[in-house]
Symmetry: C2
Subunit: 421 residues, 2 copies
Amino acid sequence: MSIIIKGIRLNGKTSDIFIEGNRIKEIDDQLDVKADEVIPGEGKAAVPSFVNGHTHAAMTLLRGYADDMPLQEWLQTKIWPIEAHMTEEDIYWGAKLACLEMIKTGTTFFNDMYWHWRGTARAVEEMGIRAAISAVFIDLFDAQKAKEQIALNEQLYAERDAFGPRVTFTLGPHAIYTVSEAALRWCAEFARDKGVLVHFHLAETEEEIQECLKKHGVRPVKYLEQIGFLGPHLVACHCVWLDEEDIAILKAHEVRAVHNPTSNMKLTVGGVFPYPQLREGGIITALGTDGCASNNNLDMLETAKLASLLQKFHTGDPVIMPAHEALDLITLQGARAFGLESGVLKAGHWADIALVDLNNSQLTPHFHLASDLIYAANGSCIDTLICDGRILLRGGHVEGEEEIIAKAREKAFDLVKRSAG
Amino acid sequence: MSIIIKGIRLNGKTSDIFIEGNRIKEIDDQLDVKADEVIPGEGKAAVPSFVNGHTHAAMTLLRGYADDMPLQEWLQTKIWPIEAHMTEEDIYWGAKLACLEMIKTGTTFFNDMYWHWRGTARAVEEMGIRAAISAVFIDLFDAQKAKEQIALNEQLYAERDAFGPRVTFTLGPHAIYTVSEAALRWCAEFARDKGVLVHFHLAETEEEIQECLKKHGVRPVKYLEQIGFLGPHLVACHCVWLDEEDIAILKAHEVRAVHNPTSNMKLTVGGVFPYPQLREGGIITALGTDGCASNNNLDMLETAKLASLLQKFHTGDPVIMPAHEALDLITLQGARAFGLESGVLKAGHWADIALVDLNNSQLTPHFHLASDLIYAANGSCIDTLICDGRILLRGGHVEGEEEIIAKAREKAFDLVKRSAG
């Protein structure tokens, strides 16, 4: 299968992009090649498709179910009771809905942590995008639970190739307050041994810091360093409550960080991702949406806008995280964080490409693409999405989207009914 | 002209909405009436269309032209030199583009302050929405300039009916640091005398407060009270730097306040609109986008999300400005702020109605409409927009939108060229 995108805006010029198989074969002003499919690029711009660095995809099922509640009450009376009733089939439909929303808003890769790993993996494989998927690993400091979780992860790791190369297995130890030291040590060893990433919630709330100080006498980052948990395999999500020493330690261990501005603001975590310091430290940073119960969408352009606005507001510096840098965070930096052969459109890279409709009132007059995408537009400006050399979105439409919406809605309401009875 | 919307979701029920002329005639479970046009409501929800409490519509022409610069450099080297070259024709096309974007994102009323009043008025009249329009009144403490501005405003007031009832004339004294005391006094008197609103920037930055203290020995609100500027005619935009006494004074004079969260964050004004205190004080509050050079869009659903997130983040209270309240701010409260006969869908009100497409991945599963609209969706979920009993948007499309986009783009690039010499 080959595709040629003719006469598209790319980095300020008009170019042709030739795709062969799942990779970009050539980009030039004008290419004289034959392809199975021709996409006219007029009135469109090509950008690398987006990377969502942290989510719980199937939480789409709980979108809007219980907002505007205090955090603990929300978790204990709403989220956890429902999650306890989720089946793999629920997760599958929730993840399909998530993939649909991501495709429609330009995202081709997400980093996931949730229940029923196989349900999410099946959805991702079918929908045609990419994901690094982890099973939530929580043992609540119970050795028996830890044993079960380890067995499950070993089994999922053994099965990981069943879902094809777009699905990557990762480990998902939840956080220091839900996972025992022994299990965290096991995760780090397994990650080093097998070369898999570890997806983790780190320093999200002040409470986490205070509890860790009380329990271990040190802050979370130091504690994790002491038990050998840190390394380039670690994708640390949130990273809101970090001090200078924490940042130096994360840097020394080449940990990757994911900032989730919308979730942090909505859940009132009380601090802000120290972006200037992490950037200064050269720490690879991506942006994430978090799950749909705490955002409530999966739109990476909105997330990038929020990230930039929050940094400006918090630092008082109107030029911090300029538009091109915010766009970079959801493309190139995101790709670096997860080792993806994408993030910049060039020959040899995966054909993971979003085409932006420039005949959009929010992208008019159109002086600077990055400014327009980050500050003015949202994910609805994406017209076409290509992942792994396959066209997943055409004219803003995904084949079969109506069925996914109807089925996910049915599953969500059924889930609420089941969990109530 | 009559319209019936059949079987639409409204306040959690399925209803029919009958529109006759420019008003809602009747709403009931099932209406057996004949109408010139039938809109099938299946898969859609009806909400009052949105109110944008503060913008400079034609600044769409400068969208993305110069972002990520320090404020003063941005104004002096980019915005002001270009604005000096704007003609009424530029303004007309910029405002047409703004109206187009607002129609596509569910807004039927905006409160505007900009140059070349007639250009904006003409655009609003043609596009079919409503606006309260003021000419920017800046005299820079020069009596001759003040005289010219007063003459212009008297003339515009005399001509105000030329543009039909959807266009309202208001006064637009810019701010205390750009308008003389004599001119501010004239504005307040004229407003009281003629019953028109006054659109004003108030307490946007700390610098404004400090300068006022130095010049007048009191804070801006107190100064404005002393010169008789305050009253229910005043729409005070931004209101970021207010103390308790300021709020009490604004309340005593029944001033209306407009919060512009995105602009405040992007321009790093350094403070936050004191929403809990203003709400407690019973001060009528609306939300606004500000102009497209400092936002960079006119999407009121995005603005409402930002407002809610910023309040949560700033106060540390996760239940402040819940979704239904944020939605209220851009509908009912907005209508109250500007004396509109809309903001809630009921018989006798203007037929200003937005229909939301519920078959949208971001509105799935759809447990709570307000949560979905504010936290998950953006303006692109609006399928149909009715203003004054006329259908302006159908299936997300506005008749002639391609021409407006092309023409506004052409005008913007031409303006940049002209202003460069």
